[in-house]
Symmetry: C2
Amino acid sequence: MKKIKLRIPATVANLVCGFDILGMAVHEPYDEMEFRLSDSPEIIIKHEDHFGLPEEPSQNVAGIVLLKIREHFKLSHGFEVIIRKHIKPGSGLGSSAASAAGAAFGANALLGNILSKNEMIHFAMFGEELASGVRHADNIAPCIYGGITLVKSPNPIDIIPLNTPDLYVTAVHPQVEVKTSDSRQILKKSISLKSAVEQWGNIAGLIAGIQKNDSALIGRSLNDGIIEPVRSILIPKFDEIKMKSIEAGALGGGISGSGPSIFMLAETKETAEKIAELMKSTYRETEIESFVYVSKINPAGIRIVE
Amino acid sequence: MKKIKLRIPATVANLVCGFDILGMAVHEPYDEMEFRLSDSPEIIIKHEDHFGLPEEPSQNVAGIVLLKIREHFKLSHGFEVIIRKHIKPGSGLGSSAASAAGAAFGANALLGNILSKNEMIHFAMFGEELASGVRHADNIAPCIYGGITLVKSPNPIDIIPLNTPDLYVTAVHPQVEVKTSDSRQILKKSISLKSAVEQWGNIAGLIAGIQKNDSALIGRSLNDGIIEPVRSILIPKFDEIKMKSIEAGALGGGISGSGPSIFMLAETKETAEKIAELMKSTYRETEIESFVYVSKINPAGIRIVE
């Protein structure tokens, strides 16, 4: 019985001014998934973690992806999957995307690489749909491609892999609940042309900075006058953490996904760790538990470890 | 008496989805300016063209720039300038920017390169202010830097020079008047978040395409759902010319500046010339006179020719 083990990274979507289009893979946290191709067509999902996620395949983010792949290719095989999830659901760090992308990646590897990256994304999006009701690729794309990806369009799938700048990411996950539906609803339906033009100056600067490996340009492009001022209200201590992080040397940063996690970019490990410390201590003062992760931008995405 | 002769290129601002932030230098049309540094502090402007522009320095786009430079550096010298303008004022091809940028560039060369590029832009913007009431750098920046430039901010001046893709530009200037003030006023003050997100997906794709030299990505990013649908109403035959150009192989294109000129990008000279032909014949049918220009993207900008 063929077997494979994957490490699937967390991802940061909605990169500041890149709302709904830019995502980035990191190294920490990550999920682990073990896949076995079985001779019976059954799909078995087992969670070895404590998040209480449903294991019934049609109700499981990884399961639904495998069901769709089995259906599409009329497979006589099935899959046995063990998931050890470390990316907490609802963290804003791409937890559902990790399960969905991991399922598509694992199935593809066991079936002899029959899928292109964009086909993996196509199937993985069924998992995002189950998790959030939206077939989006903001987290799945960087998970599958690695590095930083531009989702130019989810349908038809048009993903532009960008350069991977040599930067550190510090992410903090405060243990508060922000529902994706709330953080969607709070957004204004219309914005001023003036603020939109500022935003596309920033997104243009950010893409140029990423492609030129120009940290200073990345830093001065990490501004979001549209989404962040609204969504950050839902995240305790957001402004304080951002201000302190930039004082400590962060290039910039913002909300990860739709929150509540916050991420910051830095040029050195030392700065990234200083930011991690101040994030922890800021939440400690308010008695909010938090988890902090420091890693480089992950250029490879999902990795086969066994 | 020191003397210098410049060739100053036309520029295409508001590159489709790059409204207010992206501009591009071309080779054709271009203005010519001759500069002499004189011992008396007088500034003399002479137009050897037929556009009837004022020659009084404080009322002349080049003159005001030279006055500002003379004032700033407390120069005892003056300048004699002969301008042979071929970029028609009001064409949307950066006519005022050519005079303004040419003046700053010429003065700088005669004074022994005392200005940085951004300082030249600083002074040239006084010319744009005189011409249109707005201190913008959308056309001046590509004139001075060459190639394609991102104006991340005009104040403080933050210009990001981008890669120069190996593409041809066809521009048509139909002889109709579109006032910049009209084409500003016609714009909506607010837009939907949905259309803004589409626009920043396109601008992100366009910047990535330019930096990666990926013509196909440039082509599928040249979409503007916000400005073009409104402004193109003022330009006769816009939709027909765009449709026919794309059928003929154009990667895409749109309004140059605030019009009435239209530009298209193409991968080969053959395609660019085919587009030039269809532009001319389309306007010929409606008895609108038009001028058509074919050249590559101009990587150098202003050039000293003598």
